[in-house]
């Protein structure tokens, strides 16, 4: 599945057709902030919103853009010159990868699995964390998300745990949908997480004093783990598939990220 024609239209309409393509959608060193740079005027702000909206539709088949587009979406209410350059960079990247799309393969595997990751306190303005997850059915990526968390987390484990709760909810939806459609799937879903603290917490309520404020998320995940439809497994950060949903990554890492998500072509 690809949106080649749509991507081409977006790049052409924004007059970026003759630009030089870049190999990543966002700069790995620069962190965008709300107040950086000069505010855009009214017409430019409208254009900013319209282009970002167009890019958001492109993320439907382009999970590699999810993080970058979500980031620029956070400044829709007061966009600046700096944010606009970030949008342009995404467009340059899209220009170089017009035909890229998601590949779906037939497979005998019926495992529902997910990768959940978080960039703790990643936002420089309000110190909220960015979370991301990718849910697979067999080898195929079916749903994913990159978002800023709605509350501030005081520890990385806390942020990671909230992200696990979100990924769990998404997996439950997929499992129920499969059951409803009469498609057999393995009874236990695997959730890969790179925070050992969050994993321990899902099995055993240790450090109660430090986690009692996330009790709802905590009990939600824990119930699923105790009843067995969910198995939380530890994965090394370097093998974490959802990494690219939470932070800007290098070109080499991006290639790996795309490979893991079954993104092909370009």
């Amino acid at each position: 599945m690809s949106q080649q024609r749509y991507a081409t239209d977006v790049v052409k309409q924004t007059n970026m057709w003759n630009c030089r393509p870049v190999d990543t959608p966002n700069s790995a060193s620069e962190k965008l902030s709300l107040n950086d740079g000069e505010k855009l005027g009214e017409t430019d702000s409208t254009k900013y919103r319209s282009v970002v909206g167009a890019l958001q539709y492109l993320t439907l088949t382009r999970p590699d853009l999810s993080f970058a587009v979500n980031k620029v979406c956070q400044f829709l209410h007061s966009s600046t010159i700096v944010h606009w350059s970030a949008v342009k960079r995404i467009l340059w990247y899209v220009k170089g990868t017009l035909g890229m799309g998601l590949q779906l393969r037939s497979s005998s595997s019926t495992l529902v699995s997910a990768f959940s990751d978080v960039d703790w306190a990643g936002c420089v303005d309000d110190r909220r964390s960015t979370r991301g997850f990718a849910v697979f059915f067999g080898p195929n990526l079916v749903t994913w998300s990159a978002r800023k968390q709605p509350t501030v987390s005081r520890s990385s484990t806390e942020a990671e745990y909230k992200s696990l709760a979100n990924a769990t909810a998404e997996m439950m939806w997929i499992q129920r949908l499969l059951t409803e459609l009469g498609i057999s799937h393995s009874p236990v879903a695997w959730l890969w997480c790179d925070n050992i603290g969050a994993k321990y917490l899902s099995a055993n309520p240790v450090f109660h004093a430090r986690t009692k404020h996330i009790e709802i998320d905590f009990h939600f995940v824990r119930e699923r783990v105790a009843q067995k439809p969910l198995d939380i497994r530890f994965i090394n950060t370097s093998d974490q598939v959802a990494d690219g949903f939470t932070k800007p990554i290098s070109a080499a890492k991006l290639r790996e990220f795309r490979f893991n998500l079954n993104l092909v072509g370009g």
């Binding site: 599945m1 024609r5 459609l181």
Partner: protein, 112 residues
Amino acid sequence: MRQPPGYEDKQHLTYVCKLDKALYGLKQAPRAWYARLCGKLVQLGFIPSKGDTSLFFYHKGDTTIFVLVYVDDIIVASSSFAATKALLKDLEADFALKDLGDLHFFLGIEVK
């Protein structure tokens, strides 16, 4: 025929307005359309999915059909070609439709 709520003419209770033009984007329109399409599909034996309201499915014997709806763009996935044909024929009785053949494009997404 009834006078629309809020626009009743007390003196002429039997009168109704003549519709000159259909209004696009009426806020009741999406719900009315969904009710109509859903009603028809349910009548044909489809079950609306609880996990995704725009997905309908049908299981009978060896035949399985999935119907995915985006307003008036519809994808049909079926285990047999004959079943798809029969479904299209049933829908054609109630709606004007165009069969675009094999899936290549859906909402700007290319399928190869």
